[in-house]
Amino acid sequence: MMFVAAGVALVVAMMLFLARALLGPTVYDRILAMNSLGTKTVLLLALLVFIHDRPEFVDIALVYALVNFVATLALLKLVEHGRLS
């Protein structure tokens, strides 16, 4: 039950971050919001496997944490240098 309560709180927080991502106004605000959303997603993924009492699937949160960072890094490289190489 406490997992569900924390999960709902995280989803509400995600909605606020999403509002920032949609409002902008600059692309940096959007990337900041996306990055925070990514962290929230990792936590919510971890919470969800506990809600379902399948903690062995916490791998999903780990994979997400690894891969999401690549996207953030690429976006930052693009906005700073205009290329990925």
Partner: protein, 327 residues
């Protein structure tokens, strides 16, 4: 279902994000929002307990597809204004009407579908498909993760041709986009000269590579397998390439090697099938690999084809990144 609330809130988030993607005038903004869309989808799959799908969405949708969209923006020369954005959506009424009608028709179509998780749904009671997988997969293969058994063994043909599709994508990218000249060295002051990135790369990349190998080889026990593990392996390369520059990354892992690896993975997969044929079984019927104990043969076959898939996927992701990263 105690987490019903979470799923419904997340679905609302997906809808809002989708509208945001359509309304965004700047393609970079649309890419960022699509990244958010995909991360929420990974959450929904997890909330619905589709862990293998969630893992794939997390591996591919979240990181790699954003990267490919960015690559497409670079290679098409789209103007990526750092701070300038135009937000003045024009709405074509005809297109909007068509989209709304199509959406309504699709929503109407779902009314006839069985409820989510309904155990009496036709797809779950077919005696030769679903029932067979559920009742016999443990006995026939001794592998606890039924999803891996279905993908790698019962429907091995599907997965083999999916691997071929991935390989074909790499071929297409090579033919269309490959440049002869080597990538330029990064200018001074870039990420590789900032201590925070160097330290972070050194501490994370070895771990990412080890974890990717783990996911490829343990697909029969937990969620994951060749596809997800391959993407994670590629993610390790991508972090290195983004921080140290493409030139350094290609010195560490020459494109010639990944070209060979992409083909080799498909060859391993098909080769396992041919080996089954030569040992007297059917193509990709792994029972033939171990006549004394067919379950052991199944496990060996699945491990080998997962290795093939992982190799192809990792090499293809690296190749595509190599080709799109240069402007």
């Amino acid at each position: 279902m105690t987490d019903r609330w979470i799923v419904e809130l997340l679905l609302a988030v997906v809808v809002v994000t989708a509208v945001g993607v359509v309304r965004a005038r700047n393609l970079l903004v649309a890419s960022v929002l699509l990244g958010i869309y995909s991360l929420v989808m990974a959450l929904i799959w997890t909330a619905m307990e589709a862990y293998d799908v969630a893992l794939t969405e997390a591996a591919v949708g979240a990181g790699i597809s954003t990267l490919l969209l960015i690559g497409a923006l670079i290679r098409t020369g789209s103007r990526i204004g750092g701070s300038k954005e135009r937000d003045a959506p024009r709405i074509d009424k005809v297109a909007l009407a068509v989209a709304v009608l199509t959406g309504a028709a699709l929503a109407y179509g779902t009314l006839d579908m069985p409820a989510i998780g309904d155990p009496t749904a036709p797809v779950h009671v077919h005696p030769k498909v679903a029932r067979h997988y559920i009742d016999r997969s443990m006995e026939e293969t001794h592998v606890p993760n039924m999803v891996t058994v279905v993908l790698a063994s019962y429907r091995g043909y599907d997965t083999m041709f999916e691997t071929c599709v991935v390989f074909t994508a790499a071929l297409g990218v090579m033919v269309l986009l490959r440049r002869r000249r080597p990538p330029a060295e990064p200018a001074p002051g870039e990420m590789r000269e900032q201590a925070i990135f160097v330290v972070m790369t050194r501490m994370t990349v070895p771990f990412v590579l080890a974890y990717g190998s783990y996911v490829i080889t343990h697909g029969e026990l937990g969620p994951g397998g060749g596809f997800q593990g391959g993407v994670i392996l590629a993610a390790g390369y991508l972090i290195y390439a983004l921080v140290y520059g493409l030139a350094a990354a290609q010195r560490a892992l020459p494109p010639r090697l990944t070209d060979v690896g992409a083909g080799l993975g498909v060859l391993i997969y098909a080769g396992v099938g041919v080996a089954c044929l030569l040992l007297g079984g059917d193509f990709l019927a792994y029972d033939a690999l171990n006549q004394a104990d067919p379950a052991k043969g199944q496990q060996l076959g699945m491990t080998l084809v997962e290795l093939g898939v992982g190799l192809t996927v990792a090499c293809v992701m690296v190749t595509i990144f190599n080709e799109v990263a240069q402007p």
